[in-house]
Symmetry: C2
Subunit: 386 residues, 2 copies
């Protein structure tokens, strides 16, 4: 087990009807900016629940945060925060809205030249404007971590930010919100959470026995609830386990004391940038090829995963490892998620070279848990994903 | 899954050599009271490591906190805190020292009549004097929760206290401290952590799929590392997983969204009070009888536990459940822990009636996850434990 530090101060308020308790979590006399997305919260009843719970506060609204939270839009929200002397932010949405609010939290207190510097110069946020969240779409785990990814269309950049000042003060997780999530978003959420676990788990044995088992627990739970929730979004038990699994997949716990990979995300982001493919689906395209390509380095963990998560009890380490990748692909297919780039675009030729070139241009030192994957490896992995 | 709230702001600093980083966690200019037990930290090198890491601070010491942190001793420490204007507390020890420091943290800021009221009147501690811990004995989980149990010999009372003000600001977990732990304490630590999980898990199915699996993960890990660490306390990998499992067993996570039992602890405490039997061992005496006595209510979870934790794949629910209890008893024995009261005392006759009478006198409404166990049930369970 590697040395680690772990601290996560976010208060989780989980369960039926918890949105009604929102008002207790926000300081009296706060001037609140409620931030949300395209407005689906107005058709599923969440907007009314939030407004009712905030009836004792002065509340302004800022809507229209897009799926990949966009810098220019956020800069408009920042203007409102400053002009209106907002003292508290409330994200009502999924990972994009929450990530956007994290940027706003940091930018509102940033005293430097331009808030883009926070992203460009990787400035760690020690203190942000306080904020809470009401989660409407389980997937990214942003509701209980201190990271965010922000997109700037103007320059084609997608950059990460973080720091201890960016933990939500509270997050309200009412599994009933799952009822109104469209099938495609549901599948994406399961896929996203599952990938988060894989990126922190599918490396090499390091003797972190407990962390491995907790990671496996999250994957087993997602596999168990996936068909239930895909069939019936009103299955509260499945929804609750889905929601809590997504949070636990990326709240920092399972990454502590272990090496992590994240190469699948790095490559997947490029496919979103080039083709606009949903983030979660890019992970399903890349992951299988990544595991086959790095088979020798990952086969022990792949076999352990096969044994424990997929109940593959017979065969050699290699056979179990291969069977585990096949089971994983089958699982993605069961969610209605295609696993080849050619399933998403006819114009896939040349993608491998383009992505590889992008990595070369950025001078990235290497991807994966050993930081050894070079642009040439990226090219091969993406070709395997056609 | 039941509704829940979860917040745990303690910073964990885990791994080899982390005691050296202690100074970074304490505010500059703090006047520190270092609190420890009988002095074993002076023979195992931890005392020197802590003192060295605190070389930039004004540090006073208070030693002699006994195994069940004793009110009168703590009141002496409280006098030092007030007379010397201590601003920060540092617990260096196991659960008893940490619990004692939690009491001191609360009592130092308590403005009422006498600090015993905090325990007697169950006064929740919203704010305490800030404190950190250096854990020297994995077992109780006190290093990452906000609860404490304090004993008052004078009146024969043993009472609990807690509140959000009692989370340690940080806890340093260096698994190397395990090297010098005597076998009896090691066995007690494993037993204690395992029991903590059982009390939060062995109830009835509530559809908390993820929580169940995480609880099972902790038990599986403890079962895996127990023989390794009992054989060789210098096995760092086993020590690290032992230490992290003890913390995760009682940091609040696995109890969220599920019913909990804690009747085994309630009955076990009485055996410690009557016979001075180690806390952990009283749990081993009570648990098997408790599970046999409440077999109908708990058989589904017992069978699930048998299947997943002990790999019992055949038989009816009842057969699996019974086999699971037997496996559990075998596990306790493998730690060198006896599971019958008569193994510890020849004077066991009448214990059941005495304990039952104590519960009656206190007017307790009922024990267990359904709050239905009456003093008459307690009497029967303890008789089964003779």
């Amino acid at each position: 087990m590697l040395n680690f530090e772990f601290k996560n101060p976010t208060k989780i308020i989980f369960g039926k009807g918890q949105i009604g308790n929102l008002g207790k979590e926000i300081p009296k006399n706060a001037k609140v900016l409620m931030v949300y997305g395209a407005g689906s919260i107005k058709s599923n009843g969440i907007y009314e629940q939030v407004k009712k719970a905030l009836s004792d506060f002065e509340v302004l609204e800022f809507s229209g945060i897009p799926a990949n939270p966009e810098y220019e839009v956020l800069m408009d929200a920042l203007k409102v925060i400053k002009e209106e002397n907002i003292t508290y932010l409330l994200a009502v949405g999924g990972g994009s809205v929450i990530d956007g609010v994290k940027f706003l939290s940091s930018a509102a207190l940033y005293t430097g030249n331009t808030p883009w510097d926070i992203l460009k110069n990787s400035i760690r946020t020690e203190n942000g404007l306080p904020f809470g969240t009401v989660l409407t779409l389980p997937a990214t785990g942003s509701e209980m971590n201190s990271g965010a990814v922000i997109t700037r269309k103007e320059t084609g950049e997608k950059l990460g930010m973080g720091g201890p000042g960016l933990f939500p003060q509270f997050s309200i997780l009412d599994p009933q919100v799952v009822t109104s999530i469209p099938e495609r978003q549901l599948a994406n959420g399961i896929m996203d959470a599952f990938s988060h676990v894989l990126e922190q788990y599918m490396t090499y044995p390091i003797g972190a026995i407990l962390q491995d088992r907790i990671a496996e627990s999250i994957m087993q739970t997602l596999i168990e609830i996936a068909p239930r929730i895909m069939k019936n979004t009103s299955d509260y038990e499945a929804a609750a386990n889905f929601m809590w699994s997504c949070t636990m997949a990326l709240n920092g716990l399972i990454q502590k004391g272990v090496p992590t990979d994240w190469a699948v995300h790095a490559m997947g982001h490029e496919l979103t940038a080039l083709f606009g493919i949903d983030h979660a689906r890019t992970l399903a395209i890349i992951a299988p090829s990544h595991y086959y390509y790095n088979f020798e380095a990952k086969k022990e963990k792949l076999a352990q995963y096969g044994e424990r998560v997929w109940d593959i009890k017979t065969g050699s380490t290699e056979e179990k490892a291969k069977a585990a990748i096949e089971k994983t692909v089958d699982f993605f297919h069961s969610l209605g998620i295609d696993t080849k780039l050619s399933d998403y675009t006819a114009a896939y030729e040349g993608t491998a070279e383009r992505v590889s070139q992008r990595f070369t241009d950025r001078g990235w030192l290497g991807l994966g848990e050993h930081k050894t994957l070079a642009p040439a490896d990226v090219e091969k992995i993406i070709k395997m994903s056609y």
